[in-house]
């Protein structure tokens, strides 16, 4: 170990292990370390080191291969019992194996399955969820359209009920209505929860979720009446096949509308069981996840910048010794705010999760009174935490001097993962305004 780092550790006034236990809990900490050891020792995951030199196709293929290998490994070790409650563990497992922070199946685990659980009837959950848990159905969440983002009332995709056949006809009436951006939509998914305007007898009943099969379950060929593909290269997230999807009067059974909160009967009668805001719960869930995720990304950048600041020496003092750059007040003012904000965001993430869980428990009992609070809270915090994390990660990158610009720093990769957090699930200014609207109302 570098002597400067060794001395830093020796001189600390506390044992980092105690703080790790505070952050993760003793049991989780041990599990994380066990997983890491298993992955490090498994040759299956060694190839992932090659990511920076691979083509897009190779990166995607390797990411899918690693995911499959990890699923088998997790099952083998009893970590996966066909339940998405282990998804946090799955994320950690994957990130350790592949270095890339995300994977082509992330929307499947983070949005598709939770939407079935949250918005399906008991019968629909029984039908769809086991298939999702075993990856027979690989799904995504198709809401955003080419010409429409956070303003979801402006979405154009229609689901028109046909009483004669008891089917919904899903259609993309314009180029701007093409579903665009959902992760995993391009090549990975064979199913999607599609958000569309429900129309019965010419009357619009607003936005609702519909289960749409996109590809043949055996051949994986796109089904008739559907056009879909990858949206091409992006700033980062190269492992994810963000996609586009266009419907041409595509028919699905009536029972494929997720009907926990609103129903359409065989004869076309619409009834609502909950307030319309329940439809947006998935967004609150994902925004809560982003609040937690940006904390970990910022903490990683802070770790890199701080350790490097302890090792790097620069500019001789009057005794001719180059001090550690961490001894310069200006350098401290770069890394210490990043460290402290990481901790603040960790605890913030825990609290938001607690609030979300209590609101969800109430919703399950039919009490939806706290939904506006949840929406306001997750909108504001998603925007604020991702904004601040982005700024601080850039400062961490600069705190590494020229080397921060090299991919060798590891910070360039973190920055690529953070930047999209400021625009996905709602561009931040729009989210601040959603939060402000709630504040005015309250």
């Amino acid at each position: 170990v570098n002597p400067d780092l060794a001395r830093e550790r020796k001189n600390a006034t506390f044992n980092p292990e105690d703080l790790s236990i505070i952050l993760y809990g003793k049991e989780n900490l041990e599990l994380r370390r066990k997983i890491f050891k298993e992955i490090s020792e498994d040759p299956n995951f060694a190839k992932a080191k090659m990511f920076p030199t691979m083509s897009r196709d190779e990166v995607y293929e390797e990411a899918v291969r690693i995911f499959g290998a990890l699923q088998r490994k997790m099952k083998e070790h009893g970590y996966v019992k066909g339940c998405f409650d282990t998804y946090a563990l799955q994320h950690y497992y994957y990130k350790n194996a592949a270095f890339i922070g995300t994977y082509p199946f992330s929307v499947h685990t983070d949005m598709y399955a939770p939407t079935i659980k949250g918005q399906g009837t008991d019968e629909q959950i029984a039908e769809f969820l086991p298939k999702a848990e075993t990856y027979q159905h690989i799904g995504t969440y198709a809401q955003t359209e080419l010409g429409h983002g956070t303003f979801i009332r402006g979405l154009e995709t229609t689901a028109t009920y046909d009483k004669n056949t008891e089917e919904f006809v899903i259609h993309s009436p314009t180029i701007t209505s093409i579903k665009y951006w959902p992760g995993g939509l391009g090549k990975t998914s064979n199913y999607a929860v599609v958000m569309a305007q429900l129309i019965i007898d010419g009357k619009n009943y607003g936005l609702h979720p519909f289960m749409c099969q996109l590809r043949d379950l055996k051949t994986h060929q796109p089904l008739a009446g559907i056009e879909l593909g990858d949206i091409n290269r992006k700033f980062g997230y190269e492992v994810v096949d963000n996609g586009y999807l266009r419907f041409f009067h595509y028919r699905i059974p009536r029972t494929n509308m997720l009907m926990r909160n609103a129903k359409v009967s065989k004869d076309g009668e619409f009834s609502r069981q909950a307030i319309p805001q329940v439809t947006y719960l998935t967004m609150s869930y994902v925004r809560m996840g982003i609040v937690q995720e940006v904390a970990t990304l910022l903490a990683q950048a802070a770790t890199i910048a701080t350790r490097y600041s302890a090792v790097r020496r620069q500019t001789a003092n009057s005794q001719g010794i180059e001090p550690q750059i961490l001894d310069y007040q200006t350098q401290q003012m770069k890394v210490i705010p990043a460290i402290c904000t990481s901790y603040a965001f960790f605890f913030n993430g825990f609290e938001v999760r607690k609030i979300y869980d209590s609101v969800m428990a109430a919703v399950e009992k039919g009490d939806v009174s706290r939904l506006p609070e949840m929406h306001s809270l997750t909108s504001g915090l998603k925007a604020y935490c991702s904004d601040v994390s982005c700024d601080l990660v850039e400062i961490c990158r600069r705190s590494c001097g020229g080397h921060g610009y090299s991919n060798a720093s590891g910070i360039t990769r973190i920055y690529q993962l953070l930047v999209p957090c400021c625009t996905f699930e709602g561009e931040n200014t729009v989210l601040y305004l959603q939060c402000a609207r709630s504040l005015m109302k309250f």
């Binding site: 506390f14 350790n96 990683q300 490097y308 001894d327 402290c340 601040y432 402000a436």
Partner: protein, 216 residues
């Protein structure tokens, strides 16, 4: 500033350096800052930001319709939402800390971390805190001093604080942030692994550089 202090003449854009305004003595009085006081400041700041834009909206709506009034106050609304979010994060951190029964040395350093976070955020948003009359310039100055003190207090624990995040090298995938600190050896190996280094002479030399030289 040196020239200004010596009474030398300064260019017009720098003349302000030579004209320090008199500060009333009552503004320089010391104020004690503790967690509770700091949290009150965050709360008051968030509240006043919201009340301020709400009042602006109400006034605007007497002259124009709701939509136009809303559009003319978007910046104030965003600011109010930000101050609310800043307040929330601070509140959650302080309440986690006060409710905890953690190991005492770890808790002591987390208390410093939390105080730095609060002080630094007030200073980062000092424009709003000043505008909302939650903070005066004298208090801001005291907070700046406290922030520098906290930097020095946290400095010895900086590495241990990031070690506690417990990210393995494999996850960080960084030559600079390695646990063992062998940064330069790793950077050297990283350079050697560049795909451009597969050949001592890159094919583009013969293909493009030589013909170009021959034509010049």
């Amino acid at each position: 500033l040196g020239k200004a202090q010596k009474g030398e003449e300064l260019p017009s854009s720098l003349q302000f350096l030579g004209h320090l305004p008199d500060v009333p003595p009552e503004l320089m009085s010391a104020v004690k800052f503790d967690m509770s006081t700091l949290m009150t400041a965050f709360q008051l700041n968030a509240l006043r930001s919201v009340l301020h834009v709400a009042s602006e909206l109400q006034t605007a709506q007497k002259k124009v319709n709701y939509e136009t009034a809303w559009n003319n106050n978007l910046q104030g609304l965003v600011e109010a939402a930000k101050m609310y979010s800043v307040y929330l994060v601070a509140k959650f951190f302080v309440s986690a800390l006060s409710a905890s029964q953690w190991e005492s040395r770890a808790k002591a350093v987390l208390t410093q971390v939390c105080e730095f976070y609060l002080v630094n955020n007030i200073l980062d948003h000092s424009g709003t805190f000043l505008q909302n009359d939650v903070l005066n310039p004298s208090q801001a100055s005291l907070l700046r001093t406290r922030r520098i003190e906290l930097l020095a207090e946290l400095r010895p624990n900086a590495v241990a604080l990031v070690d506690a995040f417990d990210y393995p090298d494999r996850l960080l995938n960084s030559c600079l942030g390695r646990y063992d600190g062998n940064v330069y050896e790793a950077l050297y190996e990283y350079a050697k692994s560049s795909s451009l280094n597969q050949h001592q002479v890159h094919p583009s030399f013969h293909k493009y550089v030589k013909p170009m030289r021959e034509t010049l």
